[in-house]
């Protein structure tokens, strides 16, 4: 009786000819997060991925694997030969272990026979094992509708017996869908946006804008902390840090006060677009949510959008703030996002920002600025920070 971890794939299972590509990428990502813990072997067996490792390392492994996109469930299983007697013994062991951990009154056996050569059909095996458990555990009853626990039996090349399915995030394996550049601020929204797009397989880089010395170094430290939390899910992040102060000064001295925000946003997009082009990144990601602040009106978004050609992904566009906060709490960025030192620099914040900018007006305002040179200079002075 050997213990292994099984990993169930979600959407990947629906992929046709590309399935192997997705599976291989997922296995690569799994290896990356558990390699320092140490494991014997990772192998595929009829639709699932299995890990051989020391049992005492399972909790730590599960904790990390939960954050690997593309896997839906993780289960610690007993692996045995496909032999009726051994299945019976293992089932009793699995139920006993479950009872030791939790208060259980009812159960249901759920058999999945992927190997159709196995002589006992699924319903029959479930019945047999169910009967055996009732005989051995007087306190337990069967409940087929809402049991306290399941006992799962997978019949494949081997047989696998388990009771727990620990949920992962699903989605697609990181790196199977190109690269995205996340505009990361210190707020609640942008880390969530990055998380959601990474969950769809996008590899994440980040760009952060600051106005030092008008903003504090602690504000940037906070953004790095957020990137570090995000990197638990997305792995190493390249973060480009850009000082926007010169640009803001230019806008401040040459343009209308109420256009400050929208003009700065366009600069941020342009700079991000330029970095993306240089680094072979396929899309920008922002945390914009329709109507949340003055620059995120539909007019504001249209004007911002026109500053770049590259696709801009806005996964939060239709979400309410409370929903965004729920995800932020779940991925553990919330506590960091709400720390102060966000941005002491309110000097440049217009009192009444334009909420319905027109592209003609904005383009006209930009004529007063040497946009290309300003963008070039900002990129020239950019700092690259590697977040591991």
């Amino acid at each position: 009786m050997e213990k292994v971890l099984s990993v169930s794939l979600g959407e990947i299972a629906l992929k046709g000819l590309n399935r192997k590509y997705f599976e291989d990428q997922l296995i690569k990502n799994m290896r990356r997060v558990i390699k320092d813990i140490g494991f014997e072997k990772i192998y595929k067996e009829q639709g699932k991925i299995y890990i051989e490792a020391e049992e005492h390392n399972f909790p730590q492994m599960i904790n990390r694997l939960k954050k690997v996109f593309g896997l839906v469930y993780i289960s610690p299983c007993i692996r045995i030969e496909k032999n009726e007697e051994k299945i019976k013994d293992a089932s009793i062991v699995a139920i006993r272990e479950k009872i030791d951990k939790e208060k259980i009154n009812t159960f249901k056996v759920d058999t999945n026979r992927a190997d159709k050569n196995f002589p006992i059909k699924s319903p029959e095996l479930s019945r047999q094992i169910g009967g055996l458990i009732l005989q051995n555990f007087n306190e337990l009853k069967v409940d087929v509708h809402n049991p306290d626990t399941f006992l799962y039996i997978d019949i494949k090349q081997n047989a696998y017996i388990y009771t727990d399915k620990i949920k992962g995030y699903g989605g697609l394996p990181l790196g199977t869908n190109g690269k995205g550049l996340l505009l990361l601020s210190g707020g609640i929204d942008s880390p969530v946006a990055g998380f959601l797009m990474a969950k769809r397989g996008l590899e994440i880089s980040a760009v952060h804008y600051h106005s030092y010395p008008f903003t504090s170094e602690r504000a940037e430290e906070k953004v790095k902390d957020l990137a570090r939390i995000l990197s638990r899910y997305v792995g190493r992040i390249k973060m480009y840090s850009i000082n926007l102060l010169e640009i803001q000064k230019e806008i401040n001295s040459k343009c209308k006060e109420n256009e400050m925000t929208i003009l700065s946003r366009r600069f941020m997009m342009k700079i991000a677009g330029r970095i993306a082009e240089r680094e072979g990144i396929n899309a920008l990601i922002t945390g914009e949510s329709l109507g949340q602040v003055a620059s995120q009106t539909i007019e504001g978004i249209s004007v911002t959008n026109k500053s770049v050609d590259i696709p801009v992904l806005r996964p939060l566009i239709g979400l309410d703030k409370v929903d965004i906060i729920d995800i932020a709490r779940d991925i553990e960025t919330f506590e960091t996002s709400i720390l102060p030192f966000e941005d002491c620099c309110t000097v440049f914040l217009p009192k009444h920002p334009v909420t319905k900018p027109k592209i003609e007006d904005i383009l006209k305002s930009e004529e007063a600025l040497d946009v290309e040179t300003l963008v070039d200079k900002a990129i020239e002075n950019m700092e690259l920070i590697i977040i591991e």
């Binding site: 030092y212 010395p213 008008f214 903003t215 504090s216 170094e217 000064k249 401040n252 001295s253 102060p340 030192f341 966000e342 941005d343 002491c344 620099c345 000097v347 440049f348």
Partner: protein, 384 residues
């Protein structure tokens, strides 16, 4: 690097660091142990205590070691209240105390104590008249800071005790001396102070060590119980290394602090004058006469956010503090600057410069130069 944040903390002297390093390697015995190594440590503590008692001109038995200024304030105030709380429920303090005093008071206020917070004038001094009128029959304690940590005002401690004695001789007197220790004139015995708090890292010693003077006629109840170290007032194995470093720092300080204070007073005047000449639209929040600490000068720069200016200066390796912490949830305004009647804008633009013996005239010339350029640059944006 020009370090002008010496009210926050000072850089330990080299001699202090050396003696501490030596003690950690060689003399690590527990002072309570009966063997020779323990006794050696006990001796070292005695020497440090002597240095400090000498500097304060008090008896060696009147000095207690704590973990720092905050703990000294807590032990003094809370122990006095626990002992004399039955005698009365009235305490007097000021509006410009350090949070480690104000927050104790707030806590006792919730427990039913009556606290009088004395006002200060526009330079940060209490009114002796108001003090006299505030003392009652049930006043058990007056707790007043000697030197204010944000603006440097020195309270007339020697006159305060006279008033207390005149109106209610039973009232005890605690002085928070954390910013004043070694930096302004002090006569604990003559001024009849009952308790006096001070700290190691403000006098070029280590962090995590502080001291409390308690007049020998007073026997206070402990807040922390255990192995009865520090004559039972503050149990816990002594911070041996900290105490040794603290003792050394105080020893060196008292050898030459008279000259040091004179030099620094001159530097402060020089700095103030230069700023006055070079930078328009400013306000000195610190008086420049003898009634304020030579080590502290607080200035508001109009149309400038203190924090932005701080970052400009740090970019040139000049380190200062703002007196208003800034946060995205709004600005937390300094209660001290509010108490001396500053407008919000003046509070936001305030910077505190705190000197040390290492500062030179050249440092201050450079600082004024950088200040002038930075303030001009910031104002170009904010005064548009």
């Amino acid at each position: 690097m020009i370090y002008l944040d010496n009210c926050a903390t000072t850089k330990p002297r080299k001699e202090v660091v050396d003696i501490m390093q030596k003690s950690m390697i060689e003399d690590f015995g527990n002072p309570s142990s009966l063997h020779r190594l323990g006794m050696k440590s006990e001796q070292k503590i005695k020497i440090a205590r002597e240095h400090i008692a000498n500097a304060l001109n008090v008896n060696i038995n009147e000095i207690y070691f704590t973990s720092g200024g905050t703990e000294s304030n807590n032990i003094a105030i809370q122990s006095i209240i626990s002992k004399f709380g039955k005698r009365g429920k009235h305490i007097i303090t000021t509006k410009i105390e350090h949070p480690s005093v104000l927050n104790i008071m707030k806590n006792y206020e919730q427990q039913g104590f009556d606290i009088t917070y004395l006002n200060v004038d526009n330079q940060g001094y209490i009114s002796l008249k108001e003090l006299e009128n505030s003392i009652r029959n049930d006043t058990i304690l007056v707790s007043i800071m000697h030197v204010n940590n944000e603006i440097g005002s020195i309270q007339p401690i020697f006159k305060i005790k006279d008033i207390i004695k005149k109106v209610n001789p039973n009232t005890l007197f605690h002085v928070d001396g954390i910013q004043g220790f070694g930096k302004v004139e002090l006569a604990l015995k003559k001024w009849e102070i009952d308790c006096y708090s001070f700290s190691g890292h403000k006098v070029y010693g280590p962090k995590g060590i502080g001291g409390l003077f308690i007049d020998k006629k007073l026997i206070l109840n402990p807040l922390i119980f255990g192995g009865n170290q520090e004559k039972g007032l503050r149990s816990g194995t002594e911070n041996l290394t900290g105490i040794i470093g603290f003792g050394e720092a105080v020893k060196i300080m008292s050898e030459n602090h008279k000259i040091e204070i004179e030099n620094i007073r001159e530097l402060k005047e020089y700095f103030a004058q230069k700023i006055e000449e070079e930078i328009p639209y400013i306000r000195f929040n610190t008086s420049l006469d003898e009634n304020s600490s030579p080590y502290i000068i607080n200035i508001s720069f109009n149309h400038v956010r203190g924090e932005v200016l701080l970052h400009y200066l740090e970019d040139k390796e000049i380190y200062v503090s703002t007196t208003s912490a800034c946060s995205s949830k709004g600005t937390e305004k300094s209660h001290v600057l509010k108490s001396i009647g500053l407008k919000n804008e003046e509070i936001e633009g305030s910077i505190r410069f705190c000197f040390s013996y290492e500062i030179t005239k050249e440092d201050l010339d450079y600082t004024v130069k950088v200040l002038k350029e930075s303030v001009a640059d910031i104002r170009q944006i904010t005064m548009r």
